[in-house]
């Protein structure tokens, strides 16, 4: 969902460019406003925490930073900070890879073969409205509280958007593009290889992005329920021992980690589909 900026149609107001520098201009300068916004966010947070307006459940920002710094210095529950980050990330990578490797080809196949679609789609539709987090309990029943149950939830959560986007990606291909291949002498196989797959790439990547953010929610839920390491574990431990600094530190880390993975995925996409801009700028 990072496309907001590129979708925007900004009207250029040339009159404004010649205005002399004034207080009003400074106040409406976007970067000035951004700094004001960030600054006041942290100041308000700091003041609220300082005067205990929310009880003792909020700590001042610098204490969160300090907590994070301490975590990098010492081991916490047998792992240092990188260890916890990697524990969560690893689960996501495993679950996410398994789900996408199965779901994307299945989605493509369903879109191309109406019989496969008629058989798989109804069962798939049964599972679709069920939130992935609802699977947490049953996956613990099935796989215990180890890695397998966490990976399973991530697979369940990421499977749906991967499959759905691959499916819709193919269904929304401009049909005349198939005509081009047919007129040039291509067979059904050529239509699929030359048109279907490449044309559905952007949709598949959009599905992967959605999946990734769901995967972070899922891993967090699984780790909050039961775990011995990972970012969710940090947050849970902070909750159980009533250490708001640890909870907030965990939230910051998870935000950073989720944001970074989605940026990396975006980078991969730009590498694989350098032509994608044409569709976005339509």
């Amino acid at each position: 969902m990072n496309q907001t900026a590129s979708v925007a149609n900004e009207t250029v107001d040339y009159g404004r460019q010649r205005e002399p520098l004034s207080l009003l201009r400074l106040v409406t300068n976007l970067y000035f406003l951004y700094s004001v916004s960030l600054l006041s966010f942290f100041v308000i947070w700091d003041r609220v925490a300082e005067y205990h307006l929310l009880g003792d459940a909020l700590v001042r920002p610098h204490l969160v930073a300090l907590q994070l710094y301490q975590l990098t210095q010492m081991k916490f529950a047998g792992q240092n900070l990188m260890g916890h980050i990697w524990a969560s990330t690893q689960r996501i990578l495993v679950g996410f890879s398994i789900a996408s490797v199965i779901a994307v080809p299945l989605g493509l196949f369903m879109a191309l073969n109406k019989y496969a679609n008629a058989i798989v789609k109804p069962v798939f539709d049964l599972f679709k409205p069920m939130p992935p987090i609802a699977w947490v309990s049953i996956s613990i029943l099935w796989f215990g509280i180890g890695e397998a149950s966490k990976v399973f939830i991530i697979i369940i959560g990421t499977f749906v958007p991967c499959l759905l986007n691959a499916y819709n990606g193919v269904r929304l291909v401009e049909p005349e593009l198939y005509d081009v291949v047919r007129v040039l002498g291509g067979k059904r196989r050529d239509e699929i290889v030359q048109v279907c797959f490449p044309a559905s790439f952007p949709a598949i990547f959009a599905g992967l992005q959605i999946s990734l953010s769901i995967a972070w929610t899922c891993v967090l839920a699984a780790e909050l329920m039961s775990s011995r390491d990972g970012l969710g574990f940090l947050i849970k431990r902070g909750m159980d021992t009533h250490k708001p600094a640890l909870v907030l530190g965990g939230m910051v880390l998870i935000a950073v980690a989720a944001w970074s993975t989605s940026q990396i995925l975006g980078l991969v996409e730009r590498k694989i589909c350098p032509w994608k801009r044409s569709i976005e700028n339509l």
């Binding site: 979708v7 000035f32 987090i133 972070w216 009533h242």
Partner: protein
Amino acid sequence: MAYQEVKVKTPLSMIVLPVASICSFFLIWEGLVDFGFVPETLLAAPSQVFNTMVVKLSDPNPDGAVLAVHAWTSIQEAFLGYILSLVIGIPLGLAMGWFKVVEGLTRPVFEMIRPIPPIAWIPLTVFWFGIGLTGKVFIIWIAGIVPCVINSYVGVRMTNPVLIQMARTYGATNWQIFTQLCIPSALPMVFGALQIALAYCWTNLVGAELLAADTGLGYLITMGGRLMRPDIVVLGMISVGLSGAVIGVIIDAVEKKLLAGIRR
């Protein structure tokens, strides 16, 4: 022009296959459990789930409330959080799309909070509000507000710039352009947010109830897991899925009605 009407038949296989698929799904599931391929401690057969459902309609044991109470609690929480996120998120997103000052002041904070999965807020809400209704509504609100803001923002930003310039040349004020032009043209995007926000809310409701609750469908699922009762877990999952789907259909109908009103 009057054209001749013809009937196009759906091929028989396209009707038979989906029905057969669903039926065999349930039969295999039932069979797996009944014939002992899967131990009953791991999975409950559809018939057992149905029996449990009938029992749970009137019996509060073993988790403390009958099914209707659980469902009602969840729907109440979800609905409150959902409405709150619409009421706050949509105007905020619209304003962010048009007024530079609003965007400048809110966007950085919004972007900072957005990547945090809503259920990461659970511990804080427990500290702040306890395990009652408020905390869960807060989490659902956090979950639902993100798509509301994004869609409204993008909707305003996608207003045809030529129309805006046209309005300017006709002497419309900034506020008039916003209310008369940008908001109406953003409405389809805004309505698109209704469904997305609902899905987010519903997912995170279950998350919120898994950890901090004493009633609700998510709580039912957790308790089923703790008591090693797969029938209760599956019942909870089905109830969540079913009520989510029903609410989705209702929202979809509302959305269609509203959109039809705009097109006219």
